[in-house]
């Protein structure tokens, strides 16, 4: 079995099978974890360092991962979330959402004016997002960075699926209202 984890009394070791499992899961989840972290960390190098740190921690702790208790997705995103929280604790920054990123320019916006408007809208939206409370931010980030289901988000944030749904609806409408108010100023 893939998740054949050998548990010793003094330490936990990763068996051959679970090493293979880890390699497969790594391939599947690394881009998702990176997307989540880069949604929250403005600096690309820091986002990369934190992503590396998440997978190093995950490998060390993989022996204690129990698929009966939680899915790998819940487990790895909990590690990612805690890693980002620790990062902010160390650097004592309060910015939880990227607000100073450059916007990608694509052929979708033909004129420089359109591009400038798009960039300004994105910047403003990110500012509004950073003003939300932690739980609202987390729910929005997990939804938009990875398209997680409300149940998965609930497992990570210790909330019920219904709660997550209510938070998402309320928060999206709140963002929309702030955005409209700003546009009408």
């Amino acid at each position: 079995m893939m998740f054949n984890i050998i548990k010793n009394a003094d330490s936990t070791k990763v068996s051959n099978d679970s090493r293979e499992a880890y390699a497969i899961l790594y391939e599947q989840f690394m881009p998702r974890v990176y997307r989540y972290i880069s949604f929250r960390i403005s600096d690309e190098n820091t986002a990369q360092d934190l992503t590396s740190s998440v997978f190093e921690k995950a490998l060390t702790k993989f022996g204690s991962f129990d698929p009966q208790k939680a899915s790998f997705s819940t487990w790895i995103f909990t590690i990612a979330r805690n890693t980002v929280i620790d990062h902010y604790r160390v650097y004592k920054k309060h910015e939880d959402v990227v607000t100073n990123v450059e916007t990608k320019t694509t052929a979708q916006y033909p004129s420089p004016e359109d591009e400038a408007i798009k960039a300004e809208n994105t910047k403003r939206l990110r500012i509004f997002l950073s003003r939300l409370n932690k739980r609202e931010q987390e729910a929005i980030i997990l939804k938009y960075s990875n398209g997680m289901s409300n149940r998965e988000i609930g497992e990570i944030l210790n909330l019920t699926e219904t709660n997550v749904g209510s938070i998402l609806c309320r928060t999206i409408r709140k963002l929309r209202n702030s955005f409209v108010e700003w546009q009408n100023e």
């Binding site: 390699a23 992503t51 190093e56 990608k104 939206l125």
Partner: protein, 117 residues
């Protein structure tokens, strides 16, 4: 279901379609507020970045190295662990099972042959 709950349900269902990269089939039944919230959602789904090829390759190399170090450490601690892991693989178990069954069938055949002689 009241009007607000119905609006929330529509918003969440369509939001899941947007984050899954699907197109909204028909939004004519949606109210102005929900349409606006979904428009905002569409905008936000374009934000996440994908990791660069260099970073992907570098991290994969590091993880592979770490896995190899783990394996070495385990082999050093228990030299037979690798052999034990091989024996646990279904393909090998099937092979050994088939060989065992063939040996048993051979013995039975030999006994029956010798008794009938």
């Amino acid at each position: 279901m009241n009007k607000k709950q119905n609006k929330d349900k529509q918003l969440l269902e369509n939001l899941d379609r947007i984050v899954a990269g699907e197109k909204l089939q028909d939004d004519s039944g949606l109210d102005k507020d929900t349409k606006a919230a979904l428009e905002l959602s569409r905008e936000m789904t374009s934000w996440p970045k994908t990791p660069s090829k260099e970073f992907k390759a570098d991290l994969k190399a590091r993880v592979t190295h770490q896995l190899a170090v783990e394996k070495k450490r385990e082999v050093a601690k228990n030299p037979f662990s690798e052999f034990r892991d091989v024996l646990r693989r279904p393909a090998w178990q099937l092979t050994f099972g088939a060989i065992g069954a063939a040996i048993i069938a051979g013995i039975i055949f030999l006994i029956v042959y010798l008794l009938n002689r």
